[in-house]
């Protein structure tokens, strides 16, 4: 199955990258192992396993039909991609726009993507939830959430 093969290839690249990135680390001696020993061992095993995985013929497994498509398609895929996009944008922007602004946007967009409610209902509910969370985290629990460098 293609997705699985791609994953194994990716893990092979990760393994090689890990080993290369750790090249400078000292190995020390047998009595006093350096920082590089464990990463070298672990990285080598990972790369080797990935290589075996890339080359081996997969056995039939329960719950995974090797000929079937594993990932959703069409509308289901669209929804998934939108949600992932929302999460990525959140991570990218929350320090800039502020936590609460971003969570409000996230809630509104995700509820619209995932559910049948109309815009008005979604906006009202999201405002309530985000206000509650603002109150809960900012005042009750005193967790400092980023207010957004744009507004500062």
């Amino acid at each position: 199955m293609i997705a699985l093969r791609v994953t194994y290839l990716a893990s092979l690249l990760v393994g090689i990258g890990y080993l290369i990135a750790g090249w400078e680390q000292s190995l020390g001696s047998l009595e006093m192992p350096g920082d590089g020993v464990f990463p070298l061992l672990v990285g080598s095993v990972f790369t080797l396993l990935s290589l075996i995985a890339v080359l081996h013929k997969p056995r039939p497994e329960e719950g995974l039909d090797h000929d079937a498509r594993v990932f959703p398609r069409g509308e289901d895929l669209q929804r998934l991609v939108w949600i992932i996009l929302c999460l990525v944008l959140f991570a990218a922007l929350f320090r800039f726009l502020g936590f609460h602004v971003c969570t409000l946007a996230l809630m509104i967009v995700t509820m619209r993507i995932l559910g049948p409610w109309g815009w008005l209902k979604i906006i009202v509910v999201s405002l309530i939830v985000v206000s509650l969370s603002y109150f809960l985290f900012q005042y009750l629990l005193e967790v400092p959430l980023p207010q957004g460098s744009l507004w500062a």
Binding site: A3, L4, T7, S11, V14, Y18, A21, G22, Q25, L30, E31, M32, P33, D35, V37, F38, P39, V42, G43, V45, F46, L49, S50, A53, P58, R59, E61, G63, L64, V70, P72, D76, R79, L80, I83, I84, L87, F90, A91, F94, R95, F99, T103, L106, M107, T110, M111, I113, L114, G115, W117, S126, V129, S133, F137, L141, V143, P144, L145, P146
Partner: protein
């Protein structure tokens, strides 16, 4: 300290301060988390770690472990009433539980599940009380070589016995070990894989990884299907009681399931889940009503539900007695202990007896609370299932994002959360297990430090390390397990070749 005095101390600790409230909060959240799809005990425990910062270690552990064993109760409720397992450990209950509900015996199924969970959970705590102290005493003889080998063995067991393809499990495991090497090395003070970024010096934290894999990952899986409100079977209070026959058949199943679950819970791996399958198989084999299985056999509910609760108690034993978690929830507990400045290990029981006995006492009371929450109050929780899924998923995402940031005010953690969430989704779809990664992430530093300490102690002489009696035994067991699997695989291949010409 002997068990009797320990328990007395535990109860006095439980009654003091906020511990009783923490216990109730924990089991309540656990039930909630078990009932609702989209978030499980691991995600919830990770999410609540930051809120324990203001508490002492005992209170924190009482609450977090409450979520753990509480979720085993809640999962059966959704499974029986809606045929959607709220928890992986309740998948098996769906087979006969839902069928019983369809036949009008929903109340009986719920009662049997709850009582079985209570009986097995409580007996599990009793067993824990008698098992853990001697084990801890025994482990006091362990030095770094023994801990290194034990951790290694635990991880190998997890990869071999955890179900699914071993190569996938090993890949996840070693990936977790690799992730654990990022950050400042405690022994030498050198930074590894930080690429000059200051924030990476903290390393890859457990909380964002756990919440990403189990929280966001689960949410992404649920976005695939747009479900309306689930069709739920209504249960009236007077219908809650099983008939005499049903009791007669369930009670032995509860004891069998509990015993099996406890024994399996001691071994590394997704013990709770595996024990339910094992118990179901056992009950079917022993039953005089074999044909009922799959159509509403009450033992098919009693056995597995008891098993998963006993397994939960058992999985706390390696953590509290040895300091080595063998399952993802206990890995989270270990993370919590470390954050609170408590060193897990065999010395935990002698240096911090309040933690062990406090948790034990809280589990007795917690199980009683859970019995009450899950029987008469079951209606409260089922009404929560009416919450629209899109709102639930949005809320879970919000909680994950805020909760992650709250751990260390680190934007990096949020990036890790989102990244692991996406990765977790992809890997789950491809049938990779998450548990090896989480456990390796937590145990990697332990493995490495004990490895280096062992070499240092032995002045580089590996032979000395391997020659130590316990180390040799453990390495032998590990080698035997790996070889066994290889041999079985080989024999299976041969027999499939030999079967080919036999076409009649």
């Amino acid at each position: 300290m002997d068990s009797f005095h320990g328990l007395l101390m535990g109860f006095s600790i439980l009654m003091s301060g906020h511990n009783l409230l923490a216990c109730f909060t924990g089991v309540l959240l656990g039930t909630l988390v078990g009932v609702l799809p989209g978030i499980g005990p691991i995600g919830a425990m990770a999410l609540l770690i930051p809120s324990t910062f203001a508490m002492g270690p005992v209170t924190a552990l009482i609450m977090l472990s409450g979520i753990f064993y509480g979720s085993m109760y809640g999962g059966s409720t959704t499974t029986i009433l809606v045929n959607v397992p709220g928890e992986a450990a309740s998948v098996v209950t769906a087979i006969d539980g839902y069928k019983m509900a369809r036949k009008g015996r929903a109340g009986a199924a719920l009662s049997v599940a709850a009582v079985g969970s209570f009986v097995a959970g409580t007996l599990g705590v009793v067993a824990m009380m008698f098992f853990a102290p001697p084990l801890a005493d025994f482990a006091l003889q362990f030095g770094p070589p023994e801990f290194c080998t034990l951790t290694f063995l635990g991880l190998v067991f997890l990869a071999q016995l955890g179900g699914g393809s071993p190569i996938k499990n090993y890949l996840m495991l070693v990936l977790g070990l690799m992730m654990g090497t990022v950050g400042m090395d405690l022994m030498s003070g050198e930074s590894r894989y930080t690429f000059g970024q200051l924030e990476l010096g903290r390393g890859v934290d457990l909380v964002p990884v756990a919440m990403g894999l189990y929280g966001i990952g689960e949410v992404l899986m649920l976005t695939e299907k747009v479900t309306g409100l689930p069709k739920m079977i209504k249960v009236r209070l007077r219908e809650l009681f099983p008939t005499k026959t049903e009791w007669r058949r369930s009670v032995p199943a509860m004891f069998r399931g509990g015993t099996l679950g406890f024994l399996m819970g001691l071994i590394p791996g997704p013990a709770a889940i595996l024990s339910t399958f094992a118990s179901y198989g056992l009950e079917k084999k022993l039953s005089k009503h074999k044909d009922e299985f799959g159509h509403g056999a009450v033992e098919g509910v009693a056995g597995p539900e008891s098993a998963n609760n006993a397994a939960t108690s058992a999985s706390l034993v390696p953590l509290l007695a040895l300091g080595i978690p063998f399952a993802p929830p206990t890995a989270i507990l270990m993370g919590a202990l470390t954050i609170h400045g408590v060193q897990p290990g065999p010395l935990l029981m002698s240096q911090n007896p309040d933690i062990f006995w406090g948790v034990v006492a809280s589990m007795y009371i917690g199980n009683i609370m859970l019995l009450i929450l899950n029987l008469p109050l079951v209606g409260v929780f089922t009404s929560l299932l009416r919450m629209p899924q899109h709102l639930l998923l949005a809320l879970i995402m919000l909680l994950c994002l805020v909760g992650t940031y709250a751990v260390a005010n680190s934007a990096l953690d949020v990036y890790i959360l989102v990244g692991m969430g996406i990765l977790g989704y992809i890997l789950r779809k491809l049938n990779f297990a998450m548990a090896p990664l989480i456990l390796a992430l937590v145990l990697g530093p332990v493995l490495e430090n004990t490895f280096r300490q062992s070499l240092f102690m032995a002045r580089g002489d590996i032979g000395v390390i391997i020659a130590r009696p316990y180390t040799a035994i453990m390495l032998g067991i590990g080698a035997a397990v790996v070889l066994f699997r290889i041999v079985v695989g080989f024999m299976r291949m041969r027999s499939s070749w030999q079967n080919l010409p036999l076409d009649d």
